[in-house]
Amino acid sequence: MTLFQSFFGLLQSGLGGLAAYLAAHVLLCLLPAFFIAGALAALMPKEAITRYLGRDAPKWLSYPASALGGFFLAVCSCTIMPLFASIYKKGAGLGPAITFLFVGPAVNILAISFTGVQIGLDIALARIILSIIFGIVIGLLMAWFFHKDDAKHAEAAAQSQLFNAKAKIPSHIIIFFLLLLGTLLAGTLQIGLFRNVFYEILIPGNWPSQLQSWLDGLIPPDPNLGIEGVSIHGLFLIFMLLLIAATAIKGFKDIFNGFNPWTYITLGLITLTLVMASFSVSTNSMGLVIGLNGRLIAELLLLGGIWWMAAHSFGVESRQEWLWETWRFVKQIIPLLLVGVFLASIARALIPPIWIQTLAGRNTVFANLAGVIFGVFMYFPTLVEVPVAQTFLSLGMHRGPLLAYLLADPELSLQSILITNTVIGKKKTAVYVLLVAIFSTLAGLIFGWFIQ
């Protein structure tokens, strides 16, 4: 094989991974997840949660509230550090602050939904449950180790009025979140209710099978390596995504100057694409079979509800802020994610499976520790840890060490360790890092043992 051929082969697996990823994962999972993250950042009244994080709040309230706060408030990195520092110095103290810091990156809505769709619901659920439990345990341990230091902040906390503001989450915001969350679940859950086809439409002709075999030649699916390939449905959805990207730039850029025609076109296209993606489409020798299923009905109802609520229950400013936050997340995350998926797909073709299998093919302490250490030293931008994990999975990594890696990667990058250091100092940071490493290893071990 010449150098050119091997280079071409790598490029092909990179682009193939990217195309399969766009077709299968972005749409029904990430598109709603970005809108949810935007809504959490724009519409959620922060005081509804921070009122439980003051110095006077009892422990049984402040720790769970910190864990929840990680989910509701930590969607933006601008929020995490100031809130962490406030809880530590002027609020409930070191323990709840640590819980907040730990749980936030692990349970954010984008990471969880993406993990669930690309790697599996088991890992996504384990990621939520174990990070909440361990977040609280690590917080309690830190508070116990450093209880003398915490007493120093008591005076500053007593004078501060920061955490006294009271607010409740209005019911229309809760309903709106449930509708958005419903779109995500209806689009991604693989259950009979959504999957079963009740009516089929046949578009006759032999072009679909020809087009499909051309696509299979271009991006050969290989189940052994976890390479999915691209269907005709997928090709169509990629086309729609490119269209959305092109209109979104014009529609969302100056959202604060009001909705322009491009904004409506983009929102219309997104809705249409989500509906189109719900159909079950397959190819046979007769032609293209389009199946109507429960997913389609659920998405139609939910999207209709979202449009109605967005138009009637929210003011102009809330709508603009929601779309601005959503667009900000997309701009911040998607470009890096695409590069990450491309490189992870290339790595899948380059790394010999035997390496990963020897290192982390079985659920041992060493394998889990290897997962954690890899997570600490490799810094991947938000969400890129997921395609990286999928590459490891297809190369033969055990699901236990995989979870250990997925817990440690967002928690313990060198960058986040340095920032934490400036707030709580060297000694506490060192203990925290050590605890996270131990508990992530433990989480992987328990989970790996549990699924056997």
Binding site: M81, P82, Q332
Partner: protein, 79 residues
Amino acid sequence: MEIKILGGGCPKCERLEAVTREAVEELGLKANFIKVKNMTEIMAYDVMTTPALVVDEKVLSSGRIPSVEEIREMMIKFV
């Protein structure tokens, strides 16, 4: 007057600065803009969420981006 924008330099802080500059210009005020990015300095003001808007050492808003009109009204009250 001295206007401080507190925040680690995320897109929200830039947006807050742009909105504030617009409000200040509309009112025809002379203002000196300072960006505060250091976490310890930010914590000295009683804010728990950024971006925050501080005018002559008084916190006018935090954790959100007020509209131009809102900032204009806050400035008028303040001056």
